[in-house]
């Protein structure tokens, strides 16, 4: 038998060698597909040269009409455009990367090699990125060379670094997102349809970047780069977590088995009866329901909260951050004198609040409905944003609260008393409820990115949904009802007592 070359493994290091072998083949394959190469060459050489020429003409033209600033702003904008166009091809390559191989039946031999899942993912991702990214850098070089010769214009080094980073981060976002799609679909057609989830946000982002470029506030673009890097990290982590060869090969058709999903969901909703260690079978039949209650509140909900600790920590950190934001805005934008006058406040003042359109009707039902609606919206948004928008939605009212607490301090009220009177009575119930609901919503979004070990994405998501539904109905809804009652019946009285004349 042929012995595998141990020396080679030992000297080069097997993992990088395997990944490089894969990258080499993938890039090689891409470079032999004229349908990819021809447009890339056009966008890399012809288009940047044309842009350079157009920019040169446009500069002269706008200068004739006394608007040289338009030309000046256009040059960096076109720099971004010539970088972005070639990397848009990375999306096409990455979308095809797994599902295309699956359709051509060439995936199984690859999966039978010693490549690990992570090596496969990494190799495919890098291979999809490299040719378009190099083309983008080349395009930028061609454009800048042209401008240098035509006009003697060179961008400030920091702007060039910014555009290169922006281009790279955009490429990685598109590729990592597309690889996730490619590994989770069963046909190239389905992958192309799902690519809208990448194309639409990227289009909006590019439009935003264009506006910033014309506004010439390049500092804002660093935040865009930071945002893209965060998204990159999330998508790459998500890709590594949910990528596995079994899913790639095991799923033959995109079949939505609703009955099976429903059965699984119902299974996750169930819990074991328990009542302080008593033998429930020996209890009278009419008391056995205590086992269900004991099991839910004594065992199941605490277990859910324990396994949601990371999401809870994220939400708590978000809340602390929102307090900081509220304080920061209050210090920068102080309210004019007389706006925050609490001397004449009374319990009735609160019932006049419905006059403000965006606030709920100040009744128990109105407040409860508003809170439930907000938390449901947070859960829904969490699904589409890996959980981030749920946290943002909770942070917003908290930032407003701390904005007013700080303003109260500026006009001479005790901030502690302000907080204790306006927020604490119902907040003692509402804040924990909202925090837990948001944490469970975060899990709903994070399940896509990082399903629990041993679970598929759909199983992990159904598990998170069952946890959300169970805790919301059994724990949070009662807390929110109580909080709404306290907010409407008790808080106004306390505020009037603390501040009113």
């Amino acid at each position: 038998m042929v012995a595998v070359t141990e020396r080679m493994r030992a000297t080069v290091g097997e993992a990088p060698r395997l990944v490089l072998t894969l990258i080499k083949r993938e890039v090689w394959d891409t470079l032999r597909d004229w349908r990819i190469i021809v447009p890339i060459v056009i966008l890399t050489l012809f288009f940047p040269a044309l842009m350079s020429f157009v920019a040169n003409m446009a500069l002269d033209w706008v200068a004739e009409y006394g608007a040289p600033i338009v030309g000046e702003r256009m040059l960096p904008f076109l720099l971004m455009v010539v970088g972005f166009f070639p990397i848009s091809f990375s999306l096409v390559i990455a979308l095809e990367t797994f599902v295309g191989e699956k359709e051509r039946r060439s995936l199984e031999p690859l999966l039978a090699t010693p490549l690990t899942d992570a090596q496969l993912y990494l190799g495919k991702t890098l291979a999809a990125m490299l040719p378009p990214l190099l083309a983008a850098y080349l395009g930028i070089t061609v454009y800048l060379t042209g401008l240098h010769f035509f006009k003697g214009w060179s961008p400030p080094p920091i702007l060039l670094v910014l555009v290169v980073l922006l281009t790279t981060a955009e490429g990685l976002v598109m590729v990592s997102g597309a690889v996730v799609i490619s590994s989770q679909t069963t046909s190239v057609r389905a992958a192309n349809l799902l690519a809208s989830f990448i194309i639409i946000p990227m289009t909006l982002l590019i439009q935003g970047e264009a506006i910033i470029m014309f506004w010439a506030n390049y500092g804002v673009l660093w935040w865009v780069v930071l945002f893209l890097v965060v998204v990159d990290v999330i998508l790459v982590r998500m890709g590594i977590h949910i990528f596995n060869r079994e899913e790639l090969l095991g799923r033959e058709i995109d079949q939505l088995n609703v009955a099976s999903l429903w059965r699984k969901f119902c299974g996750y909703l169930r819990w074991e009866p328990w009542f302080f260690g008593l033998d429930l079978q020996k209890m009278p039949a009419w008391l056995r329901w205590l086992g269900m209650v004991g099991g839910l509140y004594g065992r199941d909900i605490p277990a859910i909260l324990r396994r949601s600790w990371l999401a809870l920590a994220v939400v708590v950190i978000g809340l602390l951050f929102s307090a900081g934001i509220g304080y920061d805005f209050a210090t920068r934008y102080q309210l004019p004198p007389g706006v925050l006058q609490l001397e004449n406040v009374s319990a009735e003042t609160f019932s006049e609040l419905p006059a403000v359109d965006w606030l709920p009707v100040f009744t128990v039902w109105g407040v409860l409905l508003n809170n439930v609606r907000s938390l449901m919206a947070a859960a829904l948004l969490a699904v589409f944003s890996f959980g981030t928008l749920a946290v943002a939605l909770l942070m917003a009212p908290l930032a407003i609260v701390f904005f007013f607490v700080t303003q109260a301090a500026y006009v001479g009220y005790s901030p502690a008393l302000f907080f204790a009177a306006f927020v604490l009575p119902h907040g003692l119930l509402e804040l924990p409820a909202a925090t837990i609901a948001t944490a469970l919503a975060v899990r709903l979004g994070a399940a896509f990115m990082s399903p629990p070990r041993g679970m598929t994405v759909s199983d992990g998501w159904l598990w998170a949904l069952a946890d959300f539904v169970k805790v919301f109905i059994a724990l949070l809804l009662p807390l929110l009802v109580l909080a709404a009652a306290v907010e409407v019946r008790v808080t106004p009285t306390i505020v009037a007592w603390a501040f009113g004349g």
């Binding site: 038998m1 042929v2 595998v4 070359t5 080679m8 493994r9 097997e14 060698r17 395997l18 072998t21 894969l22 083949r25 090689w28 394959d29 032999r32 597909d33 051509r104 039946r105 060439s106 995936l107 199984e108 031999p109 999966l111 039978a112 090699t113 010693p114 490549l115 690990t116 060869r245 079994e246 090969l249 095991g250 088995n257 099976s260």
Partner: protein, 317 residues
């Protein structure tokens, strides 16, 4: 780790060991509590209707799919705990060749050779040797898109054998091949039978299975419903051997002469058939009796029974 060590020391006994292997997909059981072992030097044919679980079993053995329950060991390594080690030791011929059609044979084999840990020189030597053995040395320089169906299948087989693995899993190795190529592949597989190598073949070609396999496992709905050598399966499932006696004269009266020795199942003008569980003893006695009565015998032969009969009997039950 303990189990691995034990199994590695037991490599000589079983190169492939499945214990209660079960694989489920969303409520559908593809492989159901399969227990099976394949010794080094053995060729096992997996037979079964489409969707019986053959390909799923092979994919588990290749460490592509993870068992839902039970254990699978290949060359002493668990497919779940040491998947990479298993993949290094397995050569998989997939149901479809799955080649990269834009690549040339040289580049393709170099790619897979490197993934399997071969260096460039060794890879080229092995690849050229195998291509020559399959009668297609010209494939080295050609783009695989220009290959015929048979060439593609042979190239996939070369890919599977490139690193000379101790376990070969061949899913329909001769499908899409012309008779000459199929024979070439069968001869190659036969020549690959090696005292340190186990081969598993999934096939619908029963004649091929009978010609190549030392043992045959028939799978239906994920379960092994028959396992044994072709001869054992025939004896077990089709009953005792059926003998055909052809005489010089009509059979009138002959049946009575031999009624103490055998029970005649069917007869024609000058022939008859009887079943016997022990032909070594029965046939000489029968011939002596017939000779004693002066009955002329043209031939006495066993009625051939194909594996197809066994297969159909088992699958239709």
């Amino acid at each position: 780790m303990g189990s691995v060590v034990v199994l590695q020391s037991a490599v000589l006994i079983a190169m492939i060991d499945l214990v209660g292997l079960t694989k489920r997909f969303d409520g559908f059981t593809a492989v159901d509590r399969v227990t099976l072992s394949v010794a080094p030097g053995e060729i096992l044919a997996l037979l079964g209707p489409n969707g019986a679980g053959k390909t799923t079993t092979v994919r588990v053995l290749a460490a592509i799919l993870r068992p839902t329950m039970g254990h699978a060991f290949v060359a002493g390594y668990s497919v779940t705990e040491h998947a990479q080690e298993v993949r290094r030791r397995v050569g998989l011929l997939t149901e479809y060749p799955g080649l990269y059609l834009r690549m040339r044979g040289e580049d393709y084999l170099d790619f897979f050779g490197r993934l399997m840990g071969l260096d460039a020189d060794e890879c080229e030597r092995r690849a050229r040797e195998l291509l020559a053995r399959f009668g297609m040395p010209e494939a080295w320089d050609q783009r695989m898109g220009t290959y015929s169906k048979g060439m593609r299948q042979k190239m996939a087989l070369v890919r599977a054998m490139l690193h000379d693995p101790p376990v070969l899993l061949l899913d329909e190795p001769t499908s899409a091949m012309d008779p000459h190529s199929a024979k070439l592949v069968r001869d190659t597989v036969r020549s690959l039978r090696h005292h340190r190598r186990a081969i598993v073949i999934c096939t619908h070609n029963l004649a091929e299975a009978e010609a190549l396999a030392s043992r045959i496992a028939i799978i239906r709905r994920g379960r092994i419903i028959a396992l044994g050598t072709p001869a054992e399966l025939k004896a077990r499932l089709l009953g005792p051997s059926l003998m055909e006696l052809r005489l010089l004269h009509p059979t009138d009266g002959v049946v009575n002469l031999i009624s103490d020795l055998v029970k005649v199942e069917v007869q024609g003008e000058n022939w008859l058939r009887y079943a016997t569980a022990n032909p070594q003893e029965t046939n000489p006695l029968l011939l002596q009796t017939l000779a004693a009565y002066g009955v002329g015998v043209i031939t006495l032969s066993e009625v051939p029974r194909s594996l197809e009969d066994v297969y159909l009997r088992v699958v239709e039950e």
